[in-house]
């Protein structure tokens, strides 16, 4: 896909450069660097505790970095930087809305904090309510909302002021499939409008569907970064094989690791996840070996390379919910 030169050289909306953050002895974010262009959706994919929220808090200027720097729309970000925050719309992981105020009042309040006033504000509030499908529930207190409605409002507050960078921190956690789909669709629509989006998740399907580029983060480090296809190439076409069952002892993992075509083995309590080259031809051997080592098998599943296999390839661990 060839882009016009002007678009290609459009300056990045977000530049994160070597950001480090420690909490006591724990280094939650350890030298993370990436950048996002206008209209681009960038996914941070990583398990619980990977450092996604910490990274986002630093970008949004809520948390100071111990090292490195963040630039948003050309302006240096940090806890003391107030003005550059107008470029950012933050949708926090936890629902940050006033329960006793209505959806409209919540939107109007955060709009005023962004410096919006009068009819410009009320028009935009009405527009966002429409976009979120909340127009007919604009008046009641939000504590009476369903989880999905609250999530939608949480997102609406983030995009109310047309930020250049919208940051969404796991916006679909605990949401029913219908609301989830509505949320994903609205994010897709935003990037079409030219907004840069930073999207964190530990659902690989969401990252695959939404994101132009994906950074895989684990233990505070960016393990790899690129388009979905770039990342899949890293696994050298290894398939993911899941063995479910019980009696998964260390000797089972050891026996499997010894097989020539098996690249990685991650043992969970009820499941073994393996990266296997040429899996369809090798799966019989894998199953026999596991049984021989004492595992009580109840199921076998082979999947084509996906981000799950990439994560396993990079970290030696499965990306679980």
């Amino acid at each position: 896909m060839s882009q016009p030169a002007a678009v290609r050289s459009a300056p990045d909306v977000l530049v994160v450069d070597g950001v480090v953050r420690r909490f006591g002895d724990l280094t939650a974010v350890d030298g993370v660097s990436f950048h996002i262009a206008p209209g681009e959706t960038y996914g941070l994919l990583g398990p619980n505790g990977a450092g996604k929220t910490t990274t986002i808090s630093i970008i949004a200027g809520l948390l100071a970095a111990d090292a490195g720097e963040v630039t948003v729309a050309g302006e240096r970000m940090g806890p003391q930087a107030v003005a550059p925050k107008r470029h950012i719309g933050l949708v926090p992981q936890d629902l940050a809305i006033y329960p006793e105020l209505s959806a409209r009042e919540n939107l109007a309040f955060f709009g005023r904090l962004q410096g919006m006033r009068g009819s410009a504000l009320s028009d935009r509030v009405a527009e966002v309510l429409e976009l979120l499908g909340l127009s007919d529930r604009a008046k009641g207190p939000t504590k009476e909302f369903s989880g999905g409605m609250k999530r939608r409002l949480n997102i609406g507050i983030g995009l109310l002021h047309h930020p250049r960078l919208l940051i969404l921190d796991e916006p679909t956690v605990g949401v029913d499939p219908q609301s989830r789909n509505a949320i994903l669709e609205s994010v897709e629509a935003l990037s079409v409008e030219g907004m840069a989006v930073l999207y964190t998740t530990h659902y690989m399907e969401e990252a695959e569907r939404l994101c132009d580029r994906i950074g895989i983060i684990d233990s505070g480090t960016l393990q790899a970064e690129g388009t979905r296809d770039d990342l899949l190439r890293l696994t050298a076409e290894a398939d993911t094989v899941r063995l479910s069952g019980s009696a998964i002892g260390p000797e089972v993992s050891a026996a499997l690791r010894a097989l020539p075509h098996v690249e990685r083995v991650d043992a969970g309590p009820h499941e073994l996840t393996l990266l296997v080259h040429d899996a369809p031809a090798r799966v019989a051997e894998v199953v026999t070996t596991a049984s021989a080592a004492g595992m009580a098998l109840t199921g076998v599943e082979i999947s084509r390379p996906d981000l799950e296999s990439v994560f396993l390839h990079l970290t030696g661990r499965a990306l679980r919910d």
């Binding site: 107030v82 950012i88 926090p92 936890d94 006033y98 329960p99 009042e105 904090l113």
Partner: protein, 386 residues
């Protein structure tokens, strides 16, 4: 500034949105003012005498004399007078029977009195005695003159001239009881209204701090800082919001007690400045509670506990004047006591702004200290949450 106002306005709106506040902030204080007022009885410091008996010169002179001595007098039939006395609605019942009325003309002055059990009753009795002895003296003088052949009308006119020309030594009868003096000039609902105003302004501020705790816990405070809002604006907005809640509560009680119970708040500008200063103290305390505690339930508990204890110590429940010496000293540690003194001066003794400057100064000091501490705690809690 508009950011600060948006934050403050939202805090006040959230406080008013809470249904339970309609009862606790709007209805309960007025009920308590009413109940305390009824306990105090109609004008606690008023002295009342009831007179029984048919129309006569003695009755008329007695009533005039007592009224001049600031005693409220009413004529009743014997039965209802004694009943009212028994209920504590009067200090003394004076029976001017026909015999006494007849004796008056012959220079013999005397009435039968039944004394009530109020603290003020002996005082009224002394006033009655003094009025009667005045009448007796005068009757004696008239009789002395008429017995020497002076016409009665001339004798009375002469005596009137003497009284008018000589500035008679007036004995101002003050309440002997110091306590009585302190409460004079106070209406029935005044103590209840100023006490409940202080109690509820402080209490509502502290329990209202739950909205700050909730906002911190839900991450709305952090989200506010993700907008182009400085920490200073956030804190100023919160302080202003807490102040708005406190001042609203106090001003509401002031207005409602004045409309419903006729409480006279004296020099209104002075009263409002006292309320304003006390609201700032309350706002500071709410900032401390809202930033220090992490659960709304704890804020309600601490708010109610601290709100009631400080109000009791500070004279909002029973008058400071009833406190023993050491308790008075302890009371001065509470903002309530200082505001109580200021209100007592304004409501009972007609003081103006200039007379309560020292109380206002102490309140201002408390407000500054608490607001600074609360702001520092909020800043710290926000930084910690990040």
């Amino acid at each position: 500034m508009s950011t600060v106002l948006a934050i403050a306005g939202t805090e006040l709106r959230r406080f008013l949105r809470d249904r339970s506040n309609i009862f606790f902030a709007l209805i309960l204080p007025l009920l308590l003012v009413l109940m305390i007022g009824l306990q105090f009885g109609e004008d606690a410091s008023a002295r009342r005498a009831l007179v029984v008996g048919t129309e006569s010169p003695l009755r008329a002179d007695l009533i005039t004399g007592l009224q001049e001595a600031d005693v409220r007098v009413a004529v009743r039939d014997r039965e209802s007078a004694l009943e009212q006395l028994a209920r504590g609605r009067a200090d003394i019942v004076l029976v001017v029977d026909d015999e006494a009325a007849a004796a008056y003309g012959s220079g013999d002055v005397g009435v039968e009195a039944v004394l009530g059990s109020q603290a003020t009753a002996p005082l009224v009795q002394r006033q009655v005695t003094s009025v009667l002895s005045g009448l007796q003296t005068r009757e004696g003088q008239v009789t002395a003159l008429t017995s020497r052949g002076v016409d009665r009308a001339l004798a009375e006119a002469t005596l009137d001239d003497v009284t008018a020309s000589s500035s008679a030594p007036t004995l101002v009868v003050r309440n002997l009881d110091e306590r009585e003096q302190q409460f004079s000039g106070m209406g029935q609902f005044d103590f209840g209204a100023s006490g409940q105003l202080l109690l509820f302004t402080f209490l509502s501020s502290l329990t209202g701090a739950a909205t700050l705790i909730q906002a911190r816990r839900l991450g709305v405070v952090s989200r506010t800082l993700a907008a182009p809002v400085s920490a200073f604006q956030l804190i100023a907005g919160q302080v202003l919001g807490r102040f708005a809640i406190a001042f609203f509560q106090g001003a509401y009680i002031m207005a409602a007690s004045s409309l419903l119970f006729g409480v006279d708040w004296g020099d209104l500008s002075a009263s409002l400045v006292v309320l304003l200063m006390f609201s700032l103290v309350s706002a500071g305390a709410a900032m401390v509670v809202g930033s220090l505690l992490d659960s709304e339930g704890a804020a309600a508990g601490v708010g109610i506990g601290l709100g009631l204890v400080l109000a009791a110590l500070g004279g909002s429940m029973s008058p400071l004047e009833f406190f023993p010496e050491t308790m008075r000293a302890v009371a001065n540690l509470t903002p309530h006591a200082w505001a109580y003194e200021a209100f007592a001066d304004i409501l009972r003794r007609g003081a103006g702004l200039g007379d309560v400057l020292s109380e206002l100064g102490v309140l201002a000091g408390m407000a500054i200290a608490l607001i600074l501490l609360g702001s520092w705690l909020l800043r710290r809690s926000v930084a910690r949450a990040m």
